[in-house]
């Protein structure tokens, strides 16, 4: 069965693309070298800027260069005839590793890394390789990760300085960490097996910890860094367990699934054999892997770290907590579509968690005053949208939303950073308003970002969000309705923030001396991101003649989706009927914006919502008391348990050891007169002892 067109390969050698993660790392190391050589701090950003830019260039070239299949229609036809989920997973493997027909997934192995199994017997040789995996998903992820990172790094050059244009303390450290972060993220995305993925995963967590705690003298920053790290550990624990179980399932038993010579944790191997596992095994693995995604993408039970992570510098918030790092969870689930797709239970769990998270965090966002926190909650909410998409078997749409979201969320964060920059770090919306005239450029770019986030028609957020809402409706009407309502809420709180910040009469906090527009090095990145916020959505639509669609000629499911079909996602095509939904969601977005205008258009000093909603609003404002609940439910019992253990150790175990020690001590009291301090006497004793032993041996006989 020739499913797809013949294989082609990339024009540039794969090993060149495989160097992609290395450039930022090189940059970071160079920064370290420069610090050692005691160069002036003000120029130390160059290595990282150049390294990340090199990565971005490579990513763009890769995106254009990656061979594309012309069609996978045959497979679609095949699936429509109705096959079981696990069978479908197996066939999916056949598609993307291609059997004889094509190889859209290109693998480049650097070297064998860790040997597994018995090396001495030739029958069971497995390796963990350091290999890179190039397919559509990789290319899309790399595209926005590196490009957005480049823009943010450039922005940081302007941001990480004080009023006099001098670099802040830790300037070099900041850029080194940024480089390290891009390296980690690229490794995560490019990895060809689960272990390397896990490595990148943990590295990303580490960088996040380092960067959130960048202002470590501030207790809040240190605490936030720790919180992010620990909450991520909880998720990663599940993730690691998932990898272990996967390995166990694939290799255990007398007749393991993985054959000789195959590397058991490579994507290729895993997805090849995942169809042959029992359903309960697949579900177990999928749920455990999902835990990791929940932690890294800050989803519902583990979402508490992300808002606190706003203690880091704003570019970090933009880079890590909006554009790239939190997308790792989405990426992982999308990458593992053959696993998740074969487990309906896991998909349902993801769907429910996504819906819950979307609503909860959107309401939280509606009752906050800290601009960055509002954006953080909105990020969680948007990620929850993507989770819903993943739960509805449309990972391509979820990845599309990841893609568009990265642009406008980075834009919004950087805009908020610009506001902070202007107001000497003040970010509380109650303390200022009407910045429209003071920060004209920021205001304009922010407006576009807000529109994109709110799902204003024709901007990027609109296209991707609409697809997710649509998928949810197809899955279940209730889910669709919830998402739609959340989308409206999104528009509402986004513009609540925007109006409170930029509209109304000009109010400035007392400690902001001279509010000023940001320098060019910060404004240009904002505009670049604005371009992305406007046009990124058009990568995911098709331009077609015909009146069946919105505006007549634009149709969802375009270029990007086709592109992603070449990846492990390879989802069955879902119909794009129900175009009425487009109009509805556009209306909902406009309604949300309108409501926000009505209530906050003049930036009132007292919040009308707080009065109107009363207790509910306070619940929202207190984030549903999640932190307090966790504190009571987990932290304190654990701490008390720790005290119990500590006491056991101090009194129980040490007591036993003391007792054990007392025996030889009492014995030694009996024998200590033998010790005369003469070294040679001891030696003589040893000689005599050996001689006596030999004599005994001789007498008793061998």
């Amino acid at each position: 069965m020739t499913l797809l067109a013949d294989a082609t390969t990339t024009i540039l050698p794969l090993r060149l693309y495989a160097t992609l993660p290395l450039w930022p790392l090189l940059g970071a190391l160079l920064v370290g070298l420069l610090v050692v050589l005691r160069r002036k701090a003000s120029a130390t950003h160059w290595p990282v800027v150049l390294g990340v830019a090199a990565s971005a260039t490579l990513a763009i070239v890769l995106f254009l260069d990656l061979p594309k299949s012309t069609t996978n229609a045959a497979l679609q036809e095949h699936w429509k005839s109705g096959v079981s989920a696990s069978q479908r997973a197996g066939e999916l493997y056949a598609v993307f590793t291609g059997g004889a027909s094509r190889a859209p997934a290109l693998t480049y192995t650097l070297y064998n890394w860790i040997s597994l199994g018995d090396q001495s017997s030739l029958c069971n040789q497995h390796w963990l390789a350091v290999n890179f995996y190039f397919d559509g998903l990789t290319a899309v992820m790399l595209l926005f990760v590196t490009v957005v990172s480049t823009i943010i790094v450039v922005y940081s050059i302007g941001y990480m300085r004080d009023h006099h244009g001098q670099p802040e303390r830790g300037y070099e450290r900041f850029f080194a960490f940024l480089g390290l972060f891009v390296f980690s993220m690229a490794t995560l995305v490019l990895s060809g097996n689960f272990i390397l993925l896990y490595l990148g995963w943990e590295l990303v967590g580490l960088c996040s910890y380092l960067l959130i705690g960048f202002y470590y003298p501030r207790p809040a920053a240190a605490a936030a860094a720790k919180k992010a790290f620990i909450v991520n550990r909880i998720g990663d624990f599940g993730f690691a367990l998932g990898i272990f179980t996967l390995y166990w399932f694939l290799t255990a038993g007398a007749d393991p699934l993985v054959q000789h010579g195959e590397n058991p944790l490579d994507y290729a191997t895993v997805f090849k054999y995942v169809g042959a596992l029992e359903p309960w095994q697949i579900t177990t693995v999928a749920l455990l892997l999902m835990c990791g995604a929940l932690g890294k993408s800050a989803q519902f039970p583990l979402h508490v770290w992300l808002p606190d992570a706003m203690e880091g510098p704003t570019p970090v918030s933009a880079l890590i907590h909006a554009a790239t790092m939190v997308t790792a969870g989405i990426y992982m689930i999308a990458r593992c579509t053959p696993i998740f797709g074969a487990s309906p239970l896991a998909l349902n769990v993801i769907l429910v968690l996504g819906l819950l998270g979307a609503v909860l965090t959107a309401t939280m966002a509606a009752a906050q005053y800290d601009m960055k926190r509002i954006l953080a909650y909105s990020t969680i909410s948007q990620l929850a949208f993507m989770f819903v998409g993943l739960g509805c078997r449309v990972p391509d749409s979820a990845v599309f939303h990841v893609f568009t979201h990265a642009w406008f969320k980075a834009l919004l964060f950087l805009g908020a950073g610009s506001v902070m920059h202007a107001l000497s770090g003040v970010i509380d919306l109650r303390r200022f308003s009407g910045l429209r005239d003071v920060l004209p450029q920021t205001c304009r770019t922010m407006l576009i970002g807000c529109l994109a986030l709110a799902g204003f028609p024709l901007l990027s957020g609109f296209w991707s969000k609409d697809e997710l809402v649509h998928a949810a409706f197809e899955r279940h009407p209730v889910a669709g309705l919830i998402l739609l309502a959340t989308a409206g809420l999104t528009a509402y709180y986004t513009f609540r923030m925007f109006f409170l910040c930029f509209h109304g009469e000009l109010r400035l906090p007392d400690d902001a001396a001279q509010p000023h527009e940001a320098p060019l090095v910060m404004i240009v990145p904002l505009w670049l991101l604005t371009l992305g916020a406007i046009f990124a959505g058009y990568l995911g639509v098709t331009f077609a003649a015909g009146g069946e669609s919105f505006l007549g000629f634009i149709r969802p499911h375009g270029l990007l989706h086709d592109y992603l079909h070449d990846s492990t996602i390879g989802t069955p095509e879902h119909g794009h009927g129900g175009l009425w939904l487009m109009y509805v969601s556009a209306l909902v977005a406009l309604g949300g914006i309108g409501l926000a205008w009505a209530r906050f258009g003049q930036a009132p000093e007292t919040d009308p919502d707080a009065r109107a909603l009363g207790g509910l609003w306070r619940l929202w404002h207190a984030k549903y008391y999640f932190d307090e609940i966790y504190d009571y439910a987990f932290v304190r019992p654990l701490r008390n348990l720790g005290r119990v253990f500590s006491a056991t150790d101090d009194y129980g175990l040490d007591g036993v050891i003391w007792l054990v020690a007392a025996v030889p001590r009492s014995l030694s009291f009996l024998l200590h007169f033998l010790q005369r301090g003469a070294l040679q006497g001891y030696a003589l004793g040893m000689v005599v002892g050996v001689a006596v032993l030999l004599l005994l041996w001789n007498l008793i006989g061998v």
């Binding site: 200590h672 010790q675 005369r676 301090g677 003469a678 070294l679 040679q680 030696a683 003589l684 000689v687």
Partner: protein, 103 residues
Amino acid sequence: MLLPYLLLGAILFVLGLIGFVTRRNLIIMFLCTEMMFQGIILNLVAFGRYPLKGAPTFDGQVFALFLIAVAAAEAALALALVVLLYRYQGTLDANAYRMLKDE
């Protein structure tokens, strides 16, 4: 061919031992331990050359090499200690250093 070497090794070992027990000069005592090493090296290499069964191996030589390294380490530490002790009391008599005795 093995027996004479083993006997010679044993003789060197025991002579070193006797020296260690009877001489009172700290340096000579350590020299005697080195002599015991010589006996052992001879033993090891002889066993490697004339194994009780099978073809000769080089494992004996390898272990002898390890022994030399240990001897070097011992010499470095022991001599440093001896110099320190000499500075401390001005004598190398082993009987003078009995402070470790439990009084």
